[in-house]
Symmetry: C2
Subunit: 434 residues, 2 copies
């Protein structure tokens, strides 16, 4: 078969990685794909003498790639929303297949993009948009297609996981580790997307849609970052047999679908708790298969390129397939997406970790536990630390409770004269103990 | 599109699971596949009143399914070699696609079966043959298709892993745990396939071919089981920071491909070491993606059915695809398989764990370490236990060495007057420490 011609937009970290992988593994790749995959055109903002672009046409205008009649597949690696959106929509309208690593684009504009792709009978592949090199989209969309998915829970931001791992292993505080992560190049100069959970929320939005067959609803994904986790919470969690991880959780419940990203206490003996540093891992629980886990590098030039190139090969296969019989973009046929509602955060049910400073005198604990019990909240464990000091921290683990009830109980506890300041709270998930 | 008609051969554990999953998740599955998937005909040896076969034709002869003109996809779940071989070949010659969970069949007859499938333009899908519900074949064949795979290492026999987990966690001995595994239904009455590593070798043969693009070569896969692991080896390994797992390892080396299944010491902090009980997990190291891991249930009715049904959906997609542009059975185009040789076991390079009983008197250790050093073998660690007894165990961890050299050194050590009986040996792999 004749070579497939790829147009590459964006020659940053992942773009250069894609160039390298396609060149280094050219023979391996064509032995698999059954034809050559050739980068024919790249858009490039400034000269990059360190990259070998021999035999590749270049342009400074990304739209040239979308409009080039020779290009079969446009690879979008410029990132961000606006330019990428226009680029991808133009490519689709021109009948080009698209491969993208852009989670923000898919989470925010995916519904529109997939509708246009369907209309124009092209594929938009986005494996690299979630968890880098881990083929998690393929696993959910194809590998587990026999299952009713019950939940997905993942460590899907490497920067956040690096920070939490350092806090846990070395007792360091958040700001300190963040500075190191920036120096190491793991975190951006503006770390908001990573540490406030926005990047993870983009990815979770995508995973939730794939798992449950619902339209992408980034605006309904509850998002909380890691910037307020204190070193003592890491220590107390550990003492109780838990590890704090920043998780994206998508869960099917009787009320609809929970989509939430937040720091979470998980049992230390759970496999996810052993995923350290910049690595990512996603657990998927299906009704037939039970718990499964997928682990690997969630970012970086070549791991992300691994997913980009796998997508190019997948698209190459579908070039000769009936457009109506391809794997659907969101795992379910577009005319059979579900209208399962996304549950409001008040309606979420989880267990809780609470930490509060109390004056050590008789009756305080009785008042607190009374408030919890009146709200129908059962206590799993209670620790009182540093006895003998005037203000002692009290740590409480609760059983499962509706978040709205917990909010009311916390407000009541904070009203008590003998409780100082705010109650620190984190959600607790037991997942599968596997 | 019109429903796809499936003929099911074999209504044992996995067959009944497949029936249940297809019925329970019928709506979810057709929302994904874009059409209904219907079991139209089953072969059944004896009446099964507990199964709901309403609306399904039955026959007592499996060959009826292979010859039925209405059947699009034959699902082979009868197991074993001979009947399954004839059944699958007949189905292929009749132009039917095949889905099978039969690792023995694929490992031993796969080359012939895939050639026939190609000639008849049908697919033979076998995701369920390795690691049950974990979509590991899809991950290697499609998800990591951009990579030159460097090695694959997996816990791919649940019975064996259950036994090793019990030995480690409870200090029990092999025979004792095996009896319990048989009582629990994890191990067969004849446990040879599981405990002697044959089942794992079938699976590793398949993984090796997918990873490196070589023909299936079960007869060249080196196989060693777990029946000779002593409780004290589990304890000593632990003391040295290692856990004993029964691994299948396929590795690309300068001399060719290593294909081997054997008990292996791996660092306890490695994620694979935390995979316990009947669960399976496979690590795959690609040159672009780095280390990745896939974890889940490796056996059981519904986990295996999850893979069988996913394969049925995959085959359904390819019904409208160009037969020459499908994902190749062994990941690489059949006319581009590699003739990389499988390395003889003598040529394998690994580190070693050795245990021997020595008379405690001056000079014995000097003799042993001299033999190792003369053979060019470096020592990583040496433990002498139970000082003061007449016969003390000595445990040695070596650095990487050619197996042939190690065999010679062991023979020489066993000749020493002060070394009692045979030297116990196990291979040590550091994998990635991730």
């Amino acid at each position: 078969m004749k070579p497939v011609k790829v147009g590459l937009c964006g020659l940053g970290t992942v773009g250069a990685g894609t160039l390298n992988v396609l060149k280094r593994n050219a023979e391996e790749i064509s032995r698999r794909a059954g034809r050559q995959i050739v980068i024919d055109l790249v858009s490039i903002r400034r000269p990059r003498p360190e990259l070998d672009l021999a035999g590749i046409r270049t342009t400074t205008d990304i739209m040239d790639v979308a409009n080039d009649p020779d290009i079969d597949i446009l690879v979008e690696l410029i990132g961000g929303y606006d330019n990428a959106h226009e680029l991808v929509m133009t490519a689709i309208r021109n009948g080009k297949h698209v491969v993208t690593a852009n989670k923000a684009l898919i989470a925010v504009h995916g519904n529109e993009i997939f509708a246009a792709a369907r209309e124009n009978k092209v594929m938009v592949a986005f494996e690299a948009s979630v968890a880098g090199g881990i083929p998690i989209i393929k696993a959910i969309r194809e590998g587990l297609s026999a299952n009713t998915i019950q939940w997905v829970a993942g460590i899907i931001n490497g920067t956040g996981n690096f920070i939490l791992t350092e806090m846990r292993e070395k007792g360091r505080d958040f700001a300190d580790v963040l500075k190191e992560a920036q120096a190491l190049g793991y975190a951006e100069a503006d770390p908001t997307f990573d540490v406030e959970g926005i990047d993870a929320a983009h990815k979770l939005t995508i995973l939730g849609s794939l798992a449950f067959g619902i339209p992408l609803q980034f605006e309904r994904t509850f998002t909380e970052g890691i910037s307020r986790i204190a070193p003592e919470d890491v220590t107390y969690a550990e003492a109780l047999g838990y590890t704090i991880k920043h998780l994206g959780i998508a869960r099917r419940t009787v009320n609809g679908v929970e989509l939430r990203v937040h720091p979470t206490l998980i049992p230390t003996k759970c496999l996810l708790a052993a995923v350290n540093g910049v690595k990512n891992a996603v657990m998927v629980q299906g009704d037939a298969v039970g718990p499964t886990l997928y682990y690997g590098a969630g970012a970086g030039a070549e791991p992300t390129a691994s997913a980009v190139v796998a997508d190019i090969i997948d698209v190459t296969r579908t070039l000769t397939a009936d457009p109506n019989n391809r794997v659907p973009h969101l795992a379910f046929q577009p005319d059979h997406l579900s209208d399962l509602p996304v549950v409001q955060v008040d309606e979420i049910e989880t267990a809780y970790y609470l930490r509060m400073q109390v004056k050590e005198k008789p009756g305080v604990l009785a008042q607190i536990t009374r408030i919890l019990s009146d709200a129908g909240i059962s206590i799993e464990a209670l620790l009182q630390k540093e006895h003998g000091t005037a203000n002692a921290p009290v740590i409480i683990l609760t059983k499962q409770v509706r978040e709205g009830n917990m909010n009311q109980a916390i407000a009541a506890i904070e009203q008590l004269d003998d409780v100082q300041g705010q109650v620190t709270r984190m959600r607790v998930e037991h997942l599968d103990l596997a």
